[in-house]
């Protein structure tokens, strides 16, 4: 009987499930989405490459000339690169709709201007 009352109460409530593609939820503050490199700050030290647990970051060249390649399909969004970066050039954006059927879109290249 205890449950019948609960069930009755819920009949008059609207569904809890969000209608996802039409209603988007704001991610919480501090959510770890796609990391973005700020190449103006980057000194090309390669720390992000070294700490990455899944080898999602590649660096071509060295120092101020270096180009960063970020493989989204490997990234686990742990945020260790952003944390370890000595010049805070990496930020974790709240971007979360990152899947794609085209593999080339999963590669983000950060070049010096």
């Amino acid at each position: 009987m205890a449950f019948a009352r609960e069930a009755l109460r819920n009949i008059f409530k609207k569904p809890v499930t969000e209608k996802y593609p039409f209603e988007r939820r704001e991610p919480a503050e501090g959510f770890r989405g796609r990391p973005v490199w700020d190449m103006k700050k980057c000194i090309g030290c390669g720390t992000c490459v070294r700490v990455c647990p899944v080898k999602a970051v590649e660096m071509i060249g060295r120092g101020r000339e270096a180009t960063i390649k970020h493989h989204l399909e490997r990234c686990i969004y742990c945020g260790q690169c952003a944390e370890s970066c000595p010049v805070k050039a990496i930020t974790m954006t709240p971007e979360y709709e990152l899947s794609d059927t085209d593999k080339s879109k999963m590669l983000h290249v950060y070049e010096r201007k």
């Binding site: 009987m1 205890a2 449950f3 609960e6 069930a7 819920n10 809890v16 991610p27 919480a28 503050e29 501090g30 959510f31 770890r32 700490v51 990455c52 647990p53 899944v54 686990i76 969004y77 742990c78 945020g79 260790q80 944390e83 974790m92």
Partner: protein
């Protein structure tokens, strides 16, 4: 075995939760007389992979041993590494570890309660519980920045601090959760749908629980007061007073009750931890290279005692990392519970230990027996269980 027994094979596809494992039941009529378990379908080689990663990278790998108790795994791992280094994490970080660990316990227990309800065919309860579980998932996202892999712990402390705004949100969420948890606790005790399928089902007596080395809520449901948080306090558990929840029922209902009451106890622990939390630093910086040493670390994961053994050799990578997850410890008692019960009760008894086979699979035990067998999937078994009870 006599000639009259029939083998019923459950799995390897999804015997309890959505994970592969195989159970071979010897049955006589409606009774299960013997159980054989074949584990190892999702052996992922994580322990070996640990050896090829630095300690910091291994942290994220240990988190991925289990998707549900990911925080317990990292806590256990970092405790081991901190012991190797001889580093004490700052007091505030220890309290934050408690908060995240208990939030995780609430989420894991609610998840399990939903699954248990689903196994006995009570999908309405399953839906309600999972709806309310979203509250704690949101809290975890607020605290750590992610719903599942929190990445809160790091070697030498935690990565994120709690501010007043976050604490306020946690307390508000806990209030709603507490009301709901109390409601469910009342409901379970009265609801015939639950009682008829769980009372005196999957009995594991107190002496058997000790003999087979059961851990976590499974052993506590058999009246044994065993909890790593109280017996060998880690993080800040020694500074927070709390009760170890014990039930004497020894059956599936007792397992449901233990977990439901632990949800309330966890809410209490989080409140106390937030109240007593000291200020100060949340992490200390550590060196990447670790001198040769050995460490053994224990944590009470939502499912029971989790154990990590780590050996360092002076480089920045561990030489050996051994993980013993609670499900593996509960498998012998699970076999004991199944024997003597009805085939129709197998799903709820299996789910009763809250198995997590993906984390368990690191040992390969191969059992080769080729006899005539009939193969069932769990869905077939679950349907059979419901039909069988309806006819009764």
């Amino acid at each position: 075995m006599s000639g009259s027994t029939i083998k019923v094979i459950i799995g390897p596809q999804h015997p309890a939760l959505k994970e592969p494992e195989r159970f071979i039941l010897e049955t006589e009529g409606e009774y299960v007389v013997d159980v054989k378990v074949r584990i190892g379908y999702i052996h992922r080689g994580i322990e070996k992979a640990m050896e090829n990663r630095t300690y910091l990278q291994g942290l994220y790998l240990s988190e991925r041993v289990c998707g549900i108790c990911s925080d317990a795994h990292t806590t256990c791992y970092v405790q081991g590494v901190e012991e190797l280094l001889g580093v004490e994490p700052p007091p505030r970080s220890r309290f934050i570890r408690v908060v995240v660990a208990e939030l995780e316990r609430i989420h894991s227990h609610l998840l399990w309660l939903g699954i248990a309800a689903h196994e006995i065919g009570f999908d309405t309860l399953f839906m309600y519980v999972w709806r309310d579980r979203e509250i704690v998932m949101d809290l975890l996202e607020i605290v750590s920045g992610n719903r599942v892999h929190y990445a809160t712990n790091t070697i030498g402390g935690v990565r994120r601090d709690l501010n007043d705004e976050k604490i306020h949100k946690i307390l508000k969420g806990l209030k709603t959760l507490e009301d709901r948890a109390k409601e469910y606790l009342k409901m379970i005790q009265k609801e015939q749908t639950v009682l008829k399928r769980t009372v005196n089902v999957g009995i594991l007596s107190k002496s058997d629980a000790i003999k087979y080395g059961a851990v976590g809520p499974t052993v506590r449901a058999s009246g044994v007061k065993r909890d790593v948080r109280a017996d060998d306090p880690y993080a800040a558990y020694d500074e927070i007073p709390f009760n170890v929840i014990v039930e004497d029922g020894c059956d599936c209902l007792a397992r449901i009750m233990v977990r439901s009451r632990e949800v309330l106890e966890s809410i209490h622990i989080i409140r106390e931890a937030l109240k007593r939390m000291p200020g100060g630093e949340i992490r200390v910086r550590v060196k990447p290279r670790i001198p040769p040493a050995e460490a053994l670390s224990r944590v009470e994961a939502p499912r029971g005692e989790l154990l990590y053994y780590i050996r360092s050799n002076g480089t920045d990578k561990p030489e050996r990392c051994k993980i013993r997850t609670p499900t593996l410890a509960n498998i012998p008692s699970l076999c004991k519970m199944l024997v003597g019960g009805y085939i129709a009760d197998v799903p709820i008894v299996l789910a009763g230990i809250d198995p997590c086979f993906a984390c368990m699979d690191r040992v390969l035990v191969i059992d080769r027996e080729k006899r005539e067998a009939k193969v069932w999937t769990l869905d077939m078994l679950r349907r059979y269980g419901r039909e069988w009870y309806r006819k009764r």
